[in-house]
């Protein structure tokens, strides 16, 4: 098996990295392509200015 892996070590490394990332994505619910979140900077309602958020003043529910 080790001998087999030596022949395809780069492919194996690439694939193991991919499987690792896929596992991370599955368990954290991370979508690698096409996340629709527009608030990439992670601003919160308390710190964001209305200008930055496209003109809307956020209403905090509580």
């Amino acid at each position: 098996m080790i001998q087999d892996l030596k022949r395809i070590k780069y492919y194996a490394l690439c694939l193991l990295t991919g499987v690792g990332l896929f596992s991370y994505g599955s368990f954290t619910g991370t979508r690698f392509l096409g996340d629709d979140n527009k608030n990439k900077d992670g601003h919160t309602i308390n710190t964001s200015g209305s200008g930055h958020m496209g003109g809307h003043g956020y209403y905090f529910h509580k």
């Binding site: 619910g29 996340d35 979140n37 958020m53 956020y58």
Partner: protein, 444 residues
């Protein structure tokens, strides 16, 4: 064996009796032939003084009679050869079968072998150069160099002899201990038959049926049907292929296990589902009143999937800017989607554009209580009775939805390299076996 009467076949010089069934076998090389395959009882025996000894009885299930009569003649580089032996071989670790025809020249005491696999032909002869250099590169590729030409190692295998008929001047059964390496520089091949680490080099060239019929006195109707499919089982082609298939299989299994495990332990759950309405706001700065939803809990970290639909929408649009807000820390996730649908009837044909449904995903949303602030915008057109409509739209929110893009991305990553390798193998094998002109002639 009584050879079929044919204008192509040379008469034999002698006859030897099979020790098992007493069938008479034609002998063409009376001086050197010492091993014989009987086509009647399928025994393989050795000639010895006064007592011919049977060495093996081939299984009846493996018997495939030689399609050409022994004694069939051929001419290569002006030297006449005659067919003296037929061998059927099977790759040891796989269901791959091929036939070999041993042609012998009494004048030059020289053999050429015709190998046939699924109707594709190759001529093989012993190389004059037995000191061929091998070079192995760091990436695992191994080359044999002969007369300044590099041949890449493509195939390594061992074989069993499952049937033989005719005569041989060596014990062909001992060849089962050989390990064969094929080095390719299409359309030429170098073959190393290695026994106890001692190499024995042969050269080979592809042979078209036209060249075969031209150089060997073979009747066209004797030729086996050419298979137009993949000539070799791909997994046997490249040295790396077997490892590749094995590792890809294990990774695929692991990948599917993770996918199924995730779906089982983090099942999809609907969090919110409601029909909402766009209500014109004539007092504020926006054209539509904003909507604040009731709170719902998300068990994260999880992908949150939004389905937005407006089934009654026609020739209009609704823009929905949605903020998903964590009630505890105020963290905001924001998305902006527009549902638009237009339809009509023009030039005798109906047309439509857009969609009543649209999806969105927020990934990696942590646990907590959330609510949504929805800021709709639309175009208000007065009805015929003067009232202003309130376009409806449905919002469905669920967590732990299947992330299909991750799934396909990973599947592509796993299958990309094996697919490329498979295409290379397929292309190579086709170029190897099909539509090749007659290559090198044997060295004299």
């Amino acid at each position: 064996m009584a050879a079929p009467e044919s204008k192509y076949v040379l008469p034999s010089y002698s006859v030897i009796k099979c020790p098992v069934c007493a069938n008479g076998l034609n002998v063409y090389d009376t001086r050197k032939s010492a091993y014989f395959g009987c086509s009647s009882c399928h025994s393989f025996f050795q000639r010895s003084d006064g007592n011919n000894a049977s060495l093996r009885k081939f299984s009846d299930a493996d018997v495939q009679q030689c399609p050409f009569p022994l004694g069939t003649m051929g001419t290569v580089e002006g030297i006449e050869y005659m067919l003296v032996g037929f061998i059927r071989k099977k790759q040891k670790d796989d269901e791959i079968y091929w036939n070999e025809y041993a042609f012998y020249s009494p004048k030059s005491n020289w053999y050429v072998i015709l190998a046939e696999f699924d109707g594709n032909w190759m001529m093989i002869w012993r190389s004059n150069n037995q000191n061929i250099e091998l070079t192995k590169y760091l990436n695992g590729d191994c080359f044999a160099q002969d007369e300044g030409v590099n041949y890449l190692l493509y195939l390594q295998y061992q074989f069993n002899i499952i049937y033989a008929e005719g005569e041989f001047d060596w014990n062909i059964l001992e060849d089962e201990s050989l390990t064969t390496y094929e080095y390719v520089n299409a359309p030429r091949i170098l073959i190393n038959e290695e026994r106890n680490y001692q190499p024995s080099w042969f050269r080979a060239s592809y042979l078209s049926p036209k060249a075969l019929l031209n150089d060997f006195e073979i009747a066209p109707e004797w030729l086996p049907k050419k298979n137009t499919g993949i000539p070799f089982i791909p997994s046997k082609f490249y040295p790396r292929w077997k490892s590749l298939v094995k590792f890809t299989g294990i990774t695929l299994a692991l990948f599917l296990l993770i996918t199924v495990g995730t779906m089982m332990f983090k099942p999809e759950k609907q969090l919110y589902n409601k029909t909402l309405y766009c209500v014109q706001d004539t007092t504020g700065w926006g054209n539509t009143k904003s909507i604040i939803t009731e709170p719902f809990n998300i068990t994260g970290p999880a992908p949150v999937y939004f389905t937005l639909s407006a089934p009654a929408l026609n020739n209009s649009w609704i823009e929905l800017e949605i903020s998903l807000i964590n009630d505890k820390d105020g963290h905001v996730y924001e998305l902006d989607k527009t549902i638009e649908y237009y339809s009509g009837y023009e030039g005798g044909e109906s047309w439509s554009e857009g969609d009543h449904n649209i999806d969105a995903v927020l990934s990696g949303v942590p646990s907590g209580t959330y609510h949504m602030n929805i800021y709709p915008a639309t175009e208000y057109k007065k009805n015929d009775d003067g009232t202003i409509p309130q376009p409806a739209f449905d919002v469905t929110v669920s967590q732990n939805s299947f992330l299909s893009s991750n799934f396909w991305l990973m599947l592509c990553l796993i299958l990309l390299y094996p697919t490329i390798q498979f295409i290379r193998k397929y292309t190579y094998e086709n170029s190897k076996w099909f539509d090749k002109e007659y290559g090198d002639l044997p060295e004299s």
